[in-house]
Point group: C2
Chain length 258, copies 2
């Protein structure tokens, strides 16, 4: 065990345990938790018991642990998670009802877009996101908006990294990405065509707080074939404006939320 | 400080800090966190720093802490929170689009119903819930369903407690509540009229897992005046069946979720 590991407090190790739960690994036995954290089984046992007693983890009949309802209740207070989606939901519903396409809402965390809400379209293309999922910023509509309006240092750091390719249409050249970001700022929206999958186009617009800072992005994801994505820009921008107004307190979370 | 308090581990105290964040208290200074937990300021400072480093708390420009995005990401793996609502969302949307009334989804935690999803109706009555909120079981439609299909010991314990009154229509007599619960089981749905507010009726139906156990409840909340709530029962039952099927893996989270 390294010195750094040995110095980690009980609180750090408790959070390490929460951190091993991921979308691909959402149900784990005690032995698996110990293995993924590198903790001795007895330590893992004690900390898991602490988490279960509080309600951060729940143990199934099969002895498998998953994330518990109480943690979810506390997490629902995160202003950038459920708080944001509560304010946004009426506008996302309107966008969905107007289009019946995939609707998404995302925030930036470091160099990723994190999806905080998604409404499935019916006839719509496959969308490879889930609530809580992360995607790199350069290839999705919401990501391009969040990157284009992010700090200049972020944009420099982002363009200096290798840009992952998802399809033959993904922009992976830093110079081209800089031009795309300038275009996003010029048009106050992003159109990302076939960059994640070859069958989908996403149209995204910013959500601004009362000071004008971009705090989130909203998008529609539609089939690339037979759609003119530019016809959707006004609706997506409109939704972004409405959500920003709701966050600022000018509009409530809904007509009944007084 | 009591012996019990003194014996609490660093992990327990870390969770105590998360526990002080509530819907009415979602942004707190370090001093407030220390006050609510009863921890010395230096201890609170160290634990809050641990939580902030991991991303469970985020510190605003104003020095105020709120729940962080990373906690929300991990919590989104809770099968009874976001996991359930992901499976349920297409059916809740259909129910909303068919009725434009308030749609709610709840699970039971102890003696409370916890709301995991809600879609606002437009012309609809005020609904005093939010995602993550709790209500006692005896007065709401979802609560009556969750209580009626809960363990017999739960029903006994619940009826032995004082039943809180919210309006003059709230059932507060244990004998009458038992009759109501029997009726819920007979009809496989609950109609709760004017029991929380005098202007609203809720119609709720169970969501069953593959073994037939009731794991959640779905409801519509509509204005009490001029509505025949019984006309909504079939739609709500239908939504409950669909969500149960989706949870069992027979149906996906949506047509695109393959």
């Amino acid at each position: 065990m390294s010195d750094a590991r040995a110095r980690r407090s009980s609180g750090d190790r408790l959070l390490d345990i929460l951190g091993v739960f991921t979308p691909g690994r959402s149900a784990l036995t005690l032995t698996e938790i110990a293995g993924h954290t590198g903790l001795p089984l007895t330590t893992a046992h004690r900390l898991v018991a602490t988490l279960a007693r509080w309600g951060a983890l729940e143990r199934g009949d099969d002895g498998v642990y998953h994330v518990g309802l109480r943690l979810w209740e506390v997490a629902s207070l995160a202003p950038r998670g459920v708080g944001l989606r509560e304010a946004a939901m009426p506008f996302l519903e309107d966008l969905y009802e107007a289009t019946h396409e995939n609707v998404q809402l995302a925030v930036r965390d470091g160099m990723d877009a994190v999806y905080v809400e998604r409404i499935f379209g019916r006839s719509a293309v496959g969308v490879h996101t889930r609530v809580g999922a992360r995607w790199p910023l350069h290839a999705t509509g919401v990501g391009l908006v969040l990157l284009a309006y992010g700090p200049a240092e972020l944009q420099e750091a982002y363009c200096a990294r290798p840009l992952e390719r998802f399809t033959r249409f993904t922009v992976t050249d830093p110079g081209e990405l800089r031009r795309v970001l300038a275009q996003v700022r010029l048009e106050n929206c992003a159109v990302s065509s076939r960059q994640i999958t070859e069958d989908a186009v996403s149209v995204a617009a910013p959500v601004r707080d009362t000071k004008g800072a971009v705090t989130a992005a909203v998008s529609l994801v539609v089939p690339a074939a037979g759609t003119d994505p530019r016809r959707l820009i006004a609706a997506v921008r409109f939704a972004g404006l409405g959500i920003g107004r709701a966050l600022g307190g000018d509009a409530g979370g809904g007509p009944d939320d007084a």
